[in-house]
């Protein structure tokens, strides 16, 4: 299970690999959190439920990241981890439920890094591989 950032002049690509589907999304969330702030400084005392659905697994991946971006803004929170409770991409109606852990933004204590505006369909990929899954998309910074 790993994530890596892909080079782009203005923005950044996020590419994630994992054996299992829940791990894929959890790792994607970690990749996103790590771009936004120094996650080791973020506590885990508050939790927020996340629930997304989409017509394809690719779009579920983008929806999931965009939902996290929206929740950060709505709740004024930085997140540290994500636990996926269920994810289903077997039908034409992909969906995911999970829990995000983090805390309210404290400008004095937290080290903010980059604001992510949105996850896009650019470079979007969601594939089943011999060892699991790989997914990627471009994040607009």
């Amino acid at each position: 299970m790993s994530f890596k950032y892909l080079e782009h002049e203005a923005d950044v690509g996020l590419c994630v690999e994992a054996e299992k589907l829940p791990e894929l999304f959890e790792e994607a969330a970690r990749g996103l959190f790590s771009l936004v702030c120094e996650i080791k400084e973020v506590g885990k005392k508050d939790t927020v439920k996340i629930s997304v659905e989409a017509d394809t697994p690719e779009h579920l991946f983008v929806e999931f990241l965009n939902e996290i971006i929206s929740l950060m803004g709505l709740k004024d929170m930085f997140f540290r981890s994500c636990r996926v409770e269920s994810v289903d991409i077997s039908s034409g109606h992909s969906n995911l439920k999970g829990i995000l852990c983090g805390e309210r933004i404290d400008a004095k204590r937290h080290k903010a890094k980059t604001e992510v505006k949105a996850a896009t369909y650019s470079g979007l990929k969601f594939e089943k591989t011999a060892s699991g899954y790989v997914a990627q998309c471009l994040l607009d910074l």
């Binding site: 903010a112 650019s122 470079g123």
Partner: protein, 485 residues
């Protein structure tokens, strides 16, 4: 990858002729160095490739004349940055990728009566006061707390509503694109979530490449135009670069889904799924265009409030009257707007997408403030924090060739990660200090990402559009203070 034919039309204009699924040619305003860089990217088969993105835009339904890229072209998502696409209302489309997730990101420039020397004497104090009074950085709220009803008024009335709330004045509106209020905004087209995310963000700079800079006019090139614009050498100006903040981000996210469904519903074939779009005759397009107008107005209001806060700081630091600081001009560079342009000899109503491209009306255009009309529209080109910014003016030629569009900045040449690998925040701050520029940043990481070396040479980029005749250089400005988001 097939070799792409890049035909030289002139020293500063190149064309990819229409081929394959392209409906129109792709035109790039560039010099030989820019073209070489684009060709290298093609040969390396880079995943995000600006020239291929431009060719993809040329494949969209209803695109008129050409998909155009400006001299600051670099990869974006769907559209390249510096990309312009104009679409007719019969067959054309609207696309999120042509607007971006920061609707009406743009620049407001304020004109002070202070000289460089006067500001130099109090530079440190001014930098510190600006840093503490201008809300900047990720998660930093603004001074305003707006209710749901007030947010709706911002979306419909734009900067004019900020004036009603006691921020700035009506004179500021005269010198703002669309007088700070784009018609057709319907708050019902914007989700509750987008509005909720904006409650505390009106009047905030944000982060990333957004900034507030105190600059001085270093050199004038077109003295007649400078007189019309009220610019003189040594004069201190303030440039504010930001957009529609979280509201704009959420509008983009919401409509990406809507337009993905519309693309399927209307059977539109696309070369890149980020170019999801809706026919301009469809309800989805009408709704999105209304939402864009809301985002545009929110950005105008945002820069307007920041302009007001900046005035307050100057009043306090220099003991001057706020009225002496005027809005010079405010213009966006991420939007899709309904405009009339001549196509095949006929005035045609078009939707012009400008993704990282600035509107640039030529002399005499009735949308321009009366004082500026003889010279043409001021074009505000943001440079890098260590080099320079420019004021250009629009020309007749630009109106004919580019749907009145031009560059918006220097354009990035290095990724943010590469910038972080190459430089440290401290060395950038020290180097800038040596050059007489004070930098204050909300985030050290963000500062390094915006290192001057991560951008192309602004002088070269501006020279391209000047030599191509789509703009005329009016003034070069050098930074004195830079507040990074």
């Amino acid at each position: 990858m097939d070799k792409i034919e890049l035909k030289k039309i002139s020293n500063y204009m190149y064309e990819v002729p229409k081929h394959g699924k392209m409906r129109v040619p792709a035109v790039i305003y560039a010099d030989s160095e820019t073209i070489k860089d684009l060709e290298i990217d093609i040969s390396k088969e880079k995943q995000w490739n600006a020239l291929l993105q431009l060719i993809n835009v040329a494949m969209l339904p209803g695109i008129q004349r050409a998909a155009i890229a400006m001299a600051d072209i670099h990869p974006g998502y769907g559209f390249p940055i510096g990309g312009v696409g104009a679409f007719d209302f019969e067959n054309g489309v609207v696309s999120v990728a042509g607007v971006g997730f920061d609707c009406n990101c743009g620049v407001r420039m304020l004109r002070t009566q202070l000289s460089r020397e006067e500001v130099e004497a109090k530079k440190e104090t001014l930098a510190n006061q600006l840093a503490s009074n201008i809300p900047a950085g990720l998660g930093v709220p603004g001074h305003l707390r707006l209710s749901r009803e007030e947010i709706d008024k911002v979306l419909v009335q734009g900067a004019a509503y900020a004036v009603k709330l006691g921020y700035g004045n009506k004179d500021d509106l005269e010198y703002t694109e669309e007088r700070g209020c784009l018609e057709g905004a319907d708050p019902a087209a914007v989700s509750d979530r987008a509005k909720e995310r904006q409650f505390k963000q009106v009047g905030t700079l944000g982060s990333g490449n957004h900034y507030l800079e105190v600059q001085y006019v270093e050199e004038l090139y077109d003295r007649d135009a400078a007189t019309h614009f009220g610019l003189r050498e040594g004069q201190v100006m303030v440039a504010i670069h930001c957009g529609s903040r979280a509201l704009g981000h959420q509008i983009g996210t919401d409509y990406l889904k809507v337009l993905a469904q519309a693309t399927r519903k209307y059977g539109i074939e696309l070369p890149d799924q980020e170019l999801v779009c809706a026919p301009l005759s469809s309800p989805e397009a009408k709704q999105y265009i209304s939402a864009i107008a809301c985002g545009v107005n929110c950005a105008f209001a945002n820069r307007h409030v920041l302009g007001h806060l900046t005035r307050g700081v100057f009043e306090k630091v220099f003991g001057i009257a706020g009225e002496t600081i005027k809005t010079f001009y405010d213009v966006g560079h991420n939007n899709a707007k309904i405009e009339n342009h001549v196509v095949d000899g006929r005035q045609t109503r078009l939707l012009v997408h400008r993704k990282g491209a600035t509107r640039a009306f030529g002399p005499g255009h009735r949308e321009l403030p009366e004082k500026y009309r003889p010279a043409g529209q001021p074009v505000l080109v943001g440079g890098t924090m260590g080099t320079a910014s420019y004021v250009l003016r629009g020309t007749e030629k630009g109106m004919e060739e580019t749907f009145s569009s031009t560059v918006h900045g220097a354009g990035r040449r290095l990724s943010r990660h590469e910038a972080k690998r190459r430089w440290q925040a401290k060395e950038i701050i020290d180097q800038m200090k040596q050059e007489g520029i004070l930098v204050r940043g909300a985030s050290f990481g963000g500062l390094v990402e915006e290192a001057p070396g991560a951008y192309k040479d602004i002088d070269r980029i501006v020279n391209i559009v000047h030599e191509a005749g789509i703009n005329i250089k009016v003034a070069r400005l050098r930074p004195l203070i830079c507040i990074k988001g």
